[in-house]
Each structure stands twice: as C-alpha cells, then as structure tokens.
C-alpha cells in the first residue's frame, strides 16, 4: 500500500510517500512496523496523540482496520482556513 506523510511528519521521515509491503491489520500495527524500521520513523511516531491518520483519504483512528486499504496518510492536526 502507499503510505504518505505530510507537514512535519514528512520532514522528520524525510520523504513524502513510499510503497510499503505490510501484514499489519490495523493502522496501529502499521505504525509499530514503521517505528521498528529506523530512528527517524520512531521519532516521527513517538507520540501518536499528536498525529492524525487518514485511510483511503478519510480521517479515521489508529484502531482502524487496514483490510483492502490502498493509501494511508499520517500528518499533524490540520491548520486550514
């Protein structure tokens, strides 16, 4: 699936998107897999209460299932308007 990062999450991880092969069944499991990869991921995901997640472009929670998900995005709380 495609994993995307925005704003400071993108800056900390150092890339805007990547294709990830995963067996994670929930967003939280995917986060654990990413954190185990490298320090920059561990840093970016150190406090998930400071993050928001969208699965297939819909805002959701970290408990959300990933079955059939094509695109997961992580970002800080939004500051539009």
């Amino acid at each position: 699936m495609d994993v995307m990062y925005f704003a400071w999450v993108r800056e900390r991880i150092g890339l805007p998107r990547e294709t990830v092969e995963t067996t994670a069944t929930t967003v939280a499991e995917l986060v654990e897999e990413l954190k185990a990869r490298e320090e920059r991921y561990a840093m970016a995901f150190s406090d998930i209460s400071a993050l928001r997640v969208a699965v297939d472009q819909e805002l959701t929670d970290f408990d959300a299932p990933l079955a059939r998900a094509r695109e997961v995005a992580f970002f800080p709380p939004m500051t539009g308007g």
Binding site: M4, F6, W8, Q57, E58, A73, P76, M78, T79, G81
Partner: protein, 151 residues
C-alpha cells in the same frame, strides 16, 4: 456547489459578484475571506501551505454537503489556496447563498469551523532564519462542539 483548491490567487470581488448574480431565489449572500497575517515578533517572509491533493477536495465537498443538509442553501463556494503566500495575501474564501440571511450566516461559520480542523491543510511560517509549522489550537477543535447535536 463550487469547490476549488488552487495555487494561484483569485479576485474575491469578482468571485462574489459571479456567485451572487442571477439568483432571484436568493436574498442573502454571506462571505468570509482569510488573509495571511503577520503577528510574529520576527517578520514573516512567507507562508507555505501544504495540502493532501485528492483528500482536500473530498473533505471540503463532504463539509459543504453537510452544510447543505443542515441549512437551506441555494449555493456554496469554497476557494482555498496552497503553496507560497505572503503577508496580506488572500488564503481562502467561503461564500454561502440562501433565501434568508440566518441560514447563510450559520452555514458560513460552520464551513469555516470545519475547514480549519478537518480539511487537510498545514501552514508553515517562514521568518528570517526560521521556519515553523503552525500548531493547531485547542479552541479550533472546541469550536466544532457547538455544531454537535446534544441528545
């Protein structure tokens, strides 16, 4: 409904004229325009607005559809820019049209409250030698509560 996410500027007066024109059923148009302000102790050089192409348009459409269900609206216009903006530049505008003003006022406030914390935009302020992401405010999240029906 007209939803536009764009990098370039827009002429708010022309947009508003076009939006209000030729609608005999409409008695009220309310609009809000957001500008880049510069209140930091360090003068801001520019603001970078990042967004999530695809999700941004979907999220704004969902918010506008919700407004149309809650109030009697003839039309909704949302224009939101991204990319590099300077102090004083127009970031975005919202306009609502309705038969009576109460619906147009309430819907415009609702749209602004939701666009602030539910549309995927992120602002970064660039000053002389520093750049900082704007943090979301608790009061922006709290502003959504007033639209939640209590039962």
């Amino acid at each position: 409904m007209d939803i536009r996410v764009q990098e370039g500027p827009f002429a708010q007066g022309e947009e508003l004229d076009a939006f209000a024109k030729g609608r005999p059923d409409v008695g009220a148009v309310v609009s809000f325009t957001g500008l880049v302000r510069d209140l930091a102790p360090d003068p801001m050089k520019h603001m970078e607005i990042e967004h999530y192409p695809g999700m941004t348009e979907r999220a704004i459409t969902t918010i506008a559809e919700e407004a149309q269900q809650r109030w009697s609206l003839a039309d909704v216009l949302v224009i939101h820019r991204y990319g590099r903006l300077r102090p004083g530049d127009t970031i975005m505008m919202v306009a609502t049209a309705s038969r009576h003003r109460a619906d147009a006022f309430a819907a415009a406030e609702f749209l602004m409250d939701y666009l602030k914390s539910r549309a995927p935009f992120w602002k970064k302020e660039v000053t002389g030698d520093d750049a900082e992401w704007v943090a979301a405010k608790d009061e922006d999240e709290a502003a959504l509560d007033r639209w939640t029906p209590r039962d």
